[in-house]
Every structure is written in structure tokens, then in C-alpha cells.
Amino acid sequence: MLRTKKWRFAILAILPTLAIFAWVRMFPIWETLRLSLHRWDILSRDKPFIGLENFRELFQDQLFLNALVNTTIIAFGVLFVTIPAALVIAALIYHRTRSRFAGFYETTVFIPHIVSLVPAAMAWKWIFDANLGPLNAVLEFFGIPGQAWLFDPVLSVICIIILCSWQALGYAVLIYLVGFKNLPHTLFEAAKLDGASGIQRFFFISVPLLRPITLYVSVVTLISGFNVYAQAFVLASDSQGAPGRLVRVLVLDMLENAFRNYRVGYAASEAVILLCIVLVLTLVQFGLLREKWNR
């Protein structure tokens, strides 16, 4: 009697949200998968099933391959900048937890993570600007010739990596700080008694113990790196002023195929590839974590 009553409440309470969930999440995800197997152009009337044809075409499409390479470079670039930097900064902030400036350190490192992408990217666009930007002015002060940062395909990828790392750092530091707070103190005490220096304790105790956290932060950073869009949109406008064309990224390529070329099925197959990348990364994370538990 009580159980049926509870069951009725649970279902009634959950139903509206579940309906919304099905409508704005599950259905469009299903649609993405379905469309990716169809030639679904807005302009043509029949939208036939074509199997994996879209995917075959994608891997011969220079624009897509270019976007895939750029996005991968950006995602891994951000990873390799962010993780070591975050680990060191978090260690230093943790060491100074009792300092009266601890709040200041945390806040300043974290602010770039919460500010809106577009205004932040605009600030960096000015910094990288070839004529007006402070970066070239600083370089020239040291006798290094200024670069046309945002008009060179390689340099602008570096600029996007810098911008994304600047934003990702705060999140990584925060998660590492939680990790540091949960490390067992006794180990450090023992190591200290054995005469291990601070640097030794960092490399031989903290870094290995924080491995699950490193894994988690790495996957999160990589996934958000693969979804990069606004940063490229703002930073990499080409000389005609068209946004994001100089550094093609996956999301940009996908949206152009869908809304400029009206090839929705084709764009959906790009989305499926993005999904596969994310799934693989997530599975790798779970796999590595499980391996650790079993040992």
C-alpha cells in the first residue's frame, strides 16, 4: 500500500522532467545518429538512406580533415599546457593555504574560467594584434621581431591554444586543490622524516597519488578542447573579416555544412565523429581507472 503510493509519487514527480529530457536530449541525439546515415539536404525533396556514404565522403573532404587536425592539435596543445601548469600552481596554492592571500590566488586563477568566452577572446585578440597589441610590443622590447599572430595559420593555432589554456587552467587548479586536500598527511610526514625534500615529495608522492585526478581533468580538458568554437570564431577571423575561417575547427565546419551548404545529413555525420571521439576518451578514462582499482 505504502509502496504503491511511493511508486505513484516517484513516477508522477519524475515524468515531466523525463518528458523534457526525452524531447530535448534523447530525441535529437537519436536524430543525429539517424540523419548521419541519410543524404538529408534542406533543398532537395527526397532524403534517401545512404548508409555510411557521408562518412566515406568526410574522410576525403579536405576542409573536414583540416578541421579535424586543427581541433586535435588544439585539444592536445591545451592539455599539455594546462595539466603540468595546473599541478604546479595547485601545489603552490595548497602549500600556502594558510596565507592571507590564498583567496586572492584562487580567485585570480579562476576568473578566466568563468568570464564569458567572447569578451575574454576579444581581450586576447587585442593582445595578439600585430600592430596595436602589447605582445608584439613586449617582444620587440626584447629585440624579437613582432609576428602577425592572427594572420598566420600556425601562429593562430598557438594563439587559440594559449587562450583556451588560460581559461581551462582555473578549473584544473580547482579540481587539483580538492585532490591535494584529500591526500593522506601521514605519507608526507613519513617522507619528511626520511629526509625527502619538497620537490621530491611533489614528484614521488603527490603526482602519483593524484593520478586519478589527472586522468579526470585530462579527459575533461580534452573533451572541451574538441568542442572549441567561440575562441576560434573570435580570434581567427580572416582578413575579409569572416569569422573563424583561418583556423577551421570541427564545430565550425559542422555548422557551415548544415547552415551554409544546407547539408544537414553530412553535418550530422561530423557530429557523430565528434561523439565517437568523446566516447573513446571517456572509455579510456574508465578503463584506466578500473585497471587501477583491480591492481
Binding site: 535529437p28 536524430e31 615529495r201 557530429a271
Partner: protein, 293 residues
């Protein structure tokens, strides 16, 4: 960098003075962190400073942090050229409605999934868990066509369609209910004859004030900073959110740095201020994303 992981409590044990060397290390670390912190916010500080500068001062080297001759001309001309305030207003309404929707849906579903043991619910939880890892960018194109067929493109409802639920919010609440609300409390209320709805509203919700606050802040900022979805859903200038408006405004040819900075500063200053005030909620919410189970 040395002594990086030293336990912080060790240095404050009463009666034990720090050695000169430890003091020096701490000072060095403080200086490093201080400089680093300043460098992190410097781009934003300079941007805000630029907003108040005259064209002559803008190109001066080295750049000044506090403008020598502050002017509001940049703001005046941006407000004259763009519906900046309208964009901000749209973003505010969008973020607020999204926050309300996410807090309501997450608290109900999170509570039910945490405290009611039924096979059906487990299946639902797994479904939610499975869709949680799919990035928004993957399914936003079909979602766009759904919005189109409802005729809500270029409206606040179209924006909202993508931001009604948040899987992470459901997990956050579920986790908190599991760990902080004992079953005995709920059972006692049931024995006293309390209805399920009353229990949820009068017992569960008040106990969830902390996590709900964190979720509210997170979901508000998530919508406030949204970019990919608003840029495809809104195509008319009057319907833009502030992010879209700014991004398209800055691609214009004739726009100079002063006006760009003013427009960006008008968005940055309020959101950074809100962040600094609500820092605790933020940190609690974001930190909990990393420590599941």
C-alpha cells in the same frame, strides 16, 4: 617551488617557529603566485582600462592601467550603434529562466532517484547517465530543427529549449540527497502521516540549500556564457544574446578598439563582480564535478 606539498598545518603548530629557510621559501612562493595571479587577470584588466581611453591613449606604450584622461565616449558610441542593452537583457532573462528550469527539474529528479528504490528508476538513471556524456554540440542541429518547427527561433523560448535540463544538476542533487539526508528522517515523517509532496517541499528542499545555490549559480553562468546554441538559434540582430551580439559586432570592419573594449567591458565587469560575490557557491559547485563518489 620546493616544499610544495608540505602539509599546511605543520608550519603553524604553536610553539614551533619557522626556520629562516622555510620563511624564505614561503615568501618566494607568495611572490610567484602573486605575479602569476596578476598576469592571469591582466588581459581583462587592460581590456576594461581600454574601454575608458581616448584613441590617442589607446596606442600609447606602455599601456596604462588607469586611463589618464578617462572618457565615456566609447560607451556612448557603442550604445548608439548597437542594441547592447537589449542583448544584455535577453541574456539575463535567458539565463534566469534556464536557472529556474534546471533547479526545479534537477531537485525533483535528483531527490527521487536518490531515495526511491524501483527498477524503473534505475533504468531512467542509466539513460540520463548515458546521455550526459554527449556534448551539446553533437545534437544541436536536430534540436535547431525542432525549434524551427515550433516557430520559436529568434525568441527567448528557442534559446531556452537547449537549456531546460542539466544532467550534471541531477547527479549533483542525487549525490547530496544520498549523503546528507538520512532515510530515517523521511520514514519518520511518513509515519507521522506527511504526504510525499510535503516531505519534499518542507524537509528535503530546506536541507539542500547549499547544493541548490551552487547549482543555481552554475546553471545561470552556463546560459549566460552560451555561444554555439544562441548563434544558430538567433539570426536577427534584435534577438541576439550578448555573446552572439559581441562576437558578430567584433567582426565588423569599421569597429575600433575603443568601442570593442567598451562593449566587452560592459559584459565583463558585472559578471566578474557577481562571481567574486558568489565565489563560494561556484567553487563548491565546480569542485563537486570532480569528486563523484
Amino acid at each position: 617551488m620546493s616544499d610544495a606539498d608540505q602539509k599546511p598545518a605543520a608550519e603553524t603548530v604553536p610553539g614551533l617557529g619557522m626556520t629562516a629557510r622555510a620563511r624564505l621559501t614561503n615568501l618566494t612562493i607568495d611572490i610567484v603566485l602573486f605575479v602569476f595571479g596578476i598576469l592571469m587577470v591582466l588581459p581583462l584588466v587592460l581590456l576594461v582600462a581600454n574601454a575608458f581611453k581616448t584613441p590617442q591613449e589607446m596606442v600609447a606604450w606602455p599601456p596604462t592601467i588607469i586611463p589618464a584622461d578617462p572618457t565615456l565616449d566609447n560607451f556612448r558610441s557603442v550604445l548608439g550603434e548597437t542594441p547592447l542593452l537589449r542583448w544584455i537583457w535577453t541574456s539575463l532573462r535567458f539565463a534566469f529562466l534556464s536557472m529556474v528550469a534546471i533547479v526545479i527539474t534537477s531537485s525533483i529528479v535528483g531527490y527521487v532517484l536518490a531515495k526511491f528504490q524501483f527498477r524503473t528508476l534505475e533504468v531512467i538513471f542509466i539513460l540520463i547517465l548515458a546521455t550526459a556524456i554527449v556534448p551539446f554540440e553533437v545534437y544541436m542541429i536536430p534540436l535547431y530543427f525542432q525549434a524551427q518547427s515550433l516557430g520559436i527561433l529568434n525568441s527567448i523560448w528557442g534559446l531556452l529549449l537547449g537549456y531546460l535540463v542539466m544532467s550534471f544538476g541531477i547527479f549533483l542533487i542525487r549525490q547530496n540527497v544520498k549523503h546528507s539526508i538520512p532515510d530515517e528522517l523521511l520514514e519518520a515523517a511518513r509515519i507521522d502521516g506527511a504526504g510525499e509532496l510535503w516531505i519534499f517541499a518542507r524537509i528535503v528542499l530546506p536541507l539542500l540549500r547549499g547544493p541548490l545555490g551552487a547549482l543555481a549559480v552554475l546553471s545561470f553562468f552556463q546560459a549566460w556564457t552560451a555561444f554555439a546554441w544562441p548563434i544558430i538559434v538567433t539570426t536577427s540582430r534584435d534577438a541576439y544574446t550578448i555573446e552572439v551580439g559581441l562576437a558578430l559586432f567584433q567582426t565588423g570592419f569599421t569597429v575600433d578598439l575603443g568601442r570593442l573594449s567598451a562593449a566587452a567591458a560592459a559584459v565583463l565587469v558585472p559578471s566578474v563582480t557577481i562571481f567574486v560575490i558568489l565565489r563560494r557557491n561556484f567553487v563548491q559547485g565546480i569542485a563537486s564535478t570532480g569528486v563523484k563518489e
